[in-house]
Symmetry: C2
Subunit: 713 residues, 2 copies
């Protein structure tokens, strides 16, 4: 035998440093305490290595827990020197070694080939990566015979399966592939067969281009580091990415992995973290759960790795504070110490960023604006003007989401799936995911003629992308972004410009939105807003329906109950309370008449698969059209203490003054003043482009992308 | 002038003790810190004493904040000796004294007469009580001239108004009356006119029976201490009650207030606290907000007073831990010290209690059962079998609510009101409060013939009440309560028996419910369950409606959308996920056929006044009828970490074996065993009553109120 008996991710000095954290109230001390308690609870149950089961079922969960606790128990043995953890790790691994080859393969159920433990090898990769890491922590403690049993009957057959039986899959450049190479590479180190590490890093061919980790990290991300499936999938890929990077750093220093390809590891980690809302949740871009956030283990590992390898950033300290744990190794320790040294840990406040998409960064972008209110509350506005997110993509180019006061205000529905709830269609994606959650109307966007963008054709959607127009992400008073999407509806061009504006007129930054459509022919335009909470008032009469019908028959409309509608002349006001905050939306369009429709999901949902969520839609018809709105955040409501402050807000109305190929001009009027907002509609606008528009004998002129003029009454 | 210059609620020694808490991390230290920060923020704004305004509007809120901060600033001046607090208090009081007599009276808007600051004198009473307390803390610091200005132009006119102009109201025995006497009595001490204290304690006549605090506390509560309007109103009355009791204790020791009438102060405080859910929220009995809890200032004051005056109780320490603050005086200090001395503060776990109603305790009761699960989670089950709660009463006799895992599971809707949200009908009760929230169908009860109990006639409802049958509140394995309501529907008797049962079959206590109806004629019975969350599965086919209609036309049914219905043979299963927990309901009835209807509120709600909440109703028709159900709490769901455990539960079904005037017998079957539950239906049952029922050749016999027999398969 020539297996190593060194832990893969620990030196003796590091172990000694970690040992000192036990019992302290540092994040690392708390992490150790918490994980020890969890492991002790788990160890109190009998060891069980079950056979095959369904995704989300008992067996599946048990195998998953087993690998997590093998990894954890190994590390805790090193750090605490308590032999019970080594015994547990050894016993569990030995039982797997006893049984593994006796398990047949699962029946193949999807495109991912089946393993012996799990229905798809993705999970088996995860199993091997963690089991190898845990094993490496106790291998010196094991007898040679024990080591041989585990290596010969468990690790080697797994490696054989991944690199030979499923060798054709091993070189695939795909986010799942990172798990495969991390598992194989790490297990190779553990059993002392470096060839597996080599093939994991450089691919089966050894060229570093057609497969392997280096090829993956070079090809999977845009130059900005953005991963096209969105943060929900990115945080899943970042886990093996960070783990394996750290392993390569230690065991293959010649690669200089943390500086590889212009620090692609740094770039993509930062790109993931910069999408997160201030409370640590990720916007549910594409198919994604609404609750996934930086407390996910992938993000915990990534934040600790990033801090250790790329240096101090107080946003990372803020994120660790939300995570309330660190990665249990030297990376996490560095972050924990920084956290402890900070007198006053503030929430993460990442700079605004436009993350380009596509291999060359030329296929649109995802824009993220962040601004702090007077009370230091962080506002975040995200807009999608990039690519379609592959098979998990949503048809929502120019869709936005908006967050403040600790909650998502203009909301993403996320996926239609009750993840891992076995009686709910096995926890898998539901039919309603395609027929509702991916449709344009389920987003904060404009739906044309009650149809989905790209006619819900993924192949078509994969070809097109949004076009960035301008991005102003630096200001503390005004930030804005603008983009075009001219290929997403037949014969219809679209441009959306969103901005956050802080003014002395208002207590908080206001979100201003100009959504412009151009077409030779007449269309119906539905400008929709997904909100949560209770309607407080409107400035127009509406009629609630005494019987409910679906709003439409297709493209997601079939799921919307048509609750109420009202005719609007001029500026419409819809005000609601969500949590402790009031929101008042003023919306108008460049048409004499429009209507506002209130909806709730749940129609044609024969198995109660959808959550019941609400929206309001401003609907009008026309050829060229401009929608404009201003969303004011104001006041405070707390039912428990029966307090309500400023339930009305300060803005009065919004007017579309005019729009053409040169620019759009809208006016927002409030208690003491009005704001004239002028936006360039010229694709090639620069900072010096002069604009001039004549509207009703008034000339509006400005230079550059955007101008806001405030007049006091 | 003969005004006292002593603080009403502080001795010098007490002030010195409180001073020591500044900067410590005790609850008192934290309380001081938090209140200081709040006051400093308030003091940073210009002083404003506005004129009249609407309830919930700016002026109303400002006057309210002003009295709170006068009281607080006075105390903080004593404790911190920082003169800025005295100056602020003095400046604010002086400005009120400048303006008060120049304010006319508000226009009378309801039965409560108007004040000069507020639209109803209730608020003016609150103002005076707090302003007097705050004034007493700085009066020694004031010049004699300043004192005279405040006393002559503010306090004396107020006292005159309350005791002369509105003297006819002063002696009313009513919960609002406690505020009146507390304000007048305390202000009397402050200005050195003891006659006001005397009339506040003994009434205008001085007899202690027709008016005044002693008469109020003797007559407002049942012998159990329960206040018939329910905890939401009780916690509002308990605030002046506790404050004034403490004042009387200090300034009229001869009354021996804390021992008055068999310790009625203790009794009623305990009765209030014992209704609270384990998370500190009050069940929304009668008109009540769904979020009101023990963090309300009244409960904070009451918990601190109760601890100081009636001694150590670890449940009070647990409550203080939820409150995260104490009353800022010697009472709170005692509690804070106890809290600090406790190594491991546990959540409050009050004993189960049956709180009788009516002056003599013979008009039914409110039952509260509490049981701890194996994981120490506290389950609470409440049933109303008492009186109608006067003008705020709900028509829900035999209605239940059920709480575990930190959330209300079988839910109260609470009031239909957006409290203090001025644009929402002035923050007042909405029409839907009567037409929906008070109706029987909005509760967890049986509605007969789609009508409301007592035909929604308050006068009729005031006459009748529930009849306790038995109450078993001691057991750690089995607790139960049973009651009759035979006068609430024409020609229909009702009996409900609910129990919580802990068995080795199940991970958690199960709620078992037997709801029996008896009638000569045939009726439609709707057995309704107000739940929240997402339906996971059923064991029967149901059809969701492709267009929605209201379920009925009256008595609250007009607000229920009929979402779906399914036919049931035998035992029905409805399972849902709420938060992190799964719930599975098994229900059956003594009829061959029944149906289950799924509803959501929101029909006929032209102004979006209602929250959208869901229920399921088991409907059947018959004469005598027994509904039986078992509600299992199981598993764990956490979307953020994508974990789902035991989404199915262990129970299979429930059967109604039989019921008659002797008893009811039902069987609950689970994975490994079945439970036979036998309940006495005999009104005069005792512990020794023998019961025997023959059903399908099997004889079921038991002794006493209730028996549960477990058979393993």
């Amino acid at each position: 035998m020539n297996t190593t008996t060194q832990p893969v991710l620990f030196t003796q000095e590091e172990v000694a440093d970690l040992k000192k954290e036990i019992g302290t109230d540092s994040l690392m001390g708390q992490t150790i305490e918490k994980l020890k308690a969890e492991l002790n609870t788990y160890m109190a149950m009998p060891i069980d290595v079950p056979g095959h089961g369904e995704a989300g079922g008992y067996e599946h969960n048990k195998h998953k827990q087993n690998y997590q606790y093998i990894n954890l128990a190994g590390r805790l043995f090193l750090i605490t020197e308590d032999e019970k953890y080594a015994k547990f790790t050894a016993a569990l691994l030995s039982e797997y070694a006893d049984k593994y080859l006796k398990f047949g393969f699962h029946i193949q159920r999807n495109t991912n080939p089946p393993g012996r433990l799990f229905h798809q090898i993705l999970n088996e990769h995860m199993w091997l990566m963690y089991a190898s890491l845990g094993y490496s922590c106790i291998s010196a403690w094991l007898s040679e015979q024990e080591r041989a049993h585990i290596v010969d009957n468990l690790f080697k057959p797994m490696l054989e399966m991944f690199t030979v039986k499923y060798g054709h899959d091993f070189d695939r450049i795909h986010n799942h592939g990172i798990w495969a190479v991390a598992a194989v590479g790490i297990c190779g180190i553990v059993i002392g067969e470096r060839k597996y590490l080599e093939m994991s890093v450089y691919g089966l061919n050894g060229d570093g281009e057609t497969g392997g980790f280096l090829a993956q990290i070079s090809q999977l991300f845009a130059p900005s580091g953005y991963y096209m499936e969105g943060p929900y999938y990115h945080r899943f890929a970042i886990r093996p990415l960070a783990v394996f990077a750290e392993v390569i750093h230690r065991h293959m220093p010649e690669v200089d992995i943390y500086n590889y390809k212009g620090q692609v590891i740094k770039q993509t980690t930062q790109a993931l973290l910069a999408t997160a809302y201030p409370n640590g949740e990720f916007p549910a871009l594409n198919d994604a759960s609404h609750t996934m956030g930086i407390t996910d283990m992938g993000a915990v590992v990534a934040v600790s790795m990033y801090f250790k390898r790329y240096g101090f950033d107080k946003n990372l300290v803020g994120m660790a504070d939300i995570q309330q744990q660190v990665w249990l190794n030297a990376c996490g320790l560095a972050l924990s110490r920084a956290h402890q040294a900070e007198d006053n840990v503030e929430p993460p406040f990442w700079p605004s960023v436009e993350l380009n998409e596509g291999e060359k960064g030329d296929r649109g972008a995802q824009g993220f604006l962040r601004m702090q209110g007077k009370d230091k509350d962080i506002y975040q506005l995200a807009m999608n003007y990039g690519q379609h997110g592959m098979d998990h993509g949503h048809f929502d180019t120019l869709g936005i989401s908006f967050f403040n006061r600790g909650q998502e205000v203009l909301r993403e529905y996320g996926f239609a799936r009750w993840v891992n709830i076995e009686p709910k269609f096995g926890g898998r994606y539901l039919d309603e995911n395609k027929s509702y959650a991916r449709q344009t109307i389920s987003h904060n966007a404009v739906t044309v003629d009650e149809q989905c963008q790209n006619n819900f054709d993924i192949e078509r959607a994969d070809i097109v992308h949004g076009t960035p127009h301008f991005f102003i992400g630096e200001g503390t008073e005004l930030q804005a972004m603008s983009a075009f999407a001219n290929q997403h509806y037949p014969d219809t061009g679209m441009q959306r410009t969103v901005m956050m504006l802080k003014t002395d007129l208002l207590e908080n930054p206001v979100l201003i939105d100009l959504y412009r459509l151009t077409s030779e022919g007449a269309h119906q335009y539905d400008y929709s807003h997904q909100y949560q909470g209770q309607i407080i008032r409107t400035n127009f009469d509406y009629k609630t329906n005494t019987e409910l019908h679906p709003l439409g028959g297709n493209f997601g409309y079939q799921y919307l109950w048509n609750l109420a509608r009202g005719e609007v002349k001029g500026s419409a006001l819809v005000s609601w309370v969500q949590g402790n905050s009031y929101y008042t939306w003023h919306g108008a369009c460049a048409a004499a008449d429009s209507e506002v429709i209130f909806t709730q999901t749940g129609a044609n949902d024969p198995q109660f698969n959808l959550r019941h969520e609400t929206s309001f839609i401003m609907r009008t018809t026309g050829k060229d059209m401009l929608f404009a709105s201003a969303l004011e955040t104001h006041g405070y409501f707390n039912e428990a203490v029966e307090a309500s402050v400023d339930a009305r807000g300060k803005l009065h109305c919004i007017e579309v003054l005019g729009h053409n190929e040169i620019g759009s001009v809208v006016r927002v009027t409030g208690d003491n003043a009005c704001l004239t907002v002028m936006v360039s509609n010229q694709p090639n606008v620069t900072e010096t482009t002069e604009h001039q528009i004549e509207i009703n004998d008034t000339t509006y002129s400005w230079k550059g992308c955007l101008a806001v003029k405030q007049e006091t009454k």
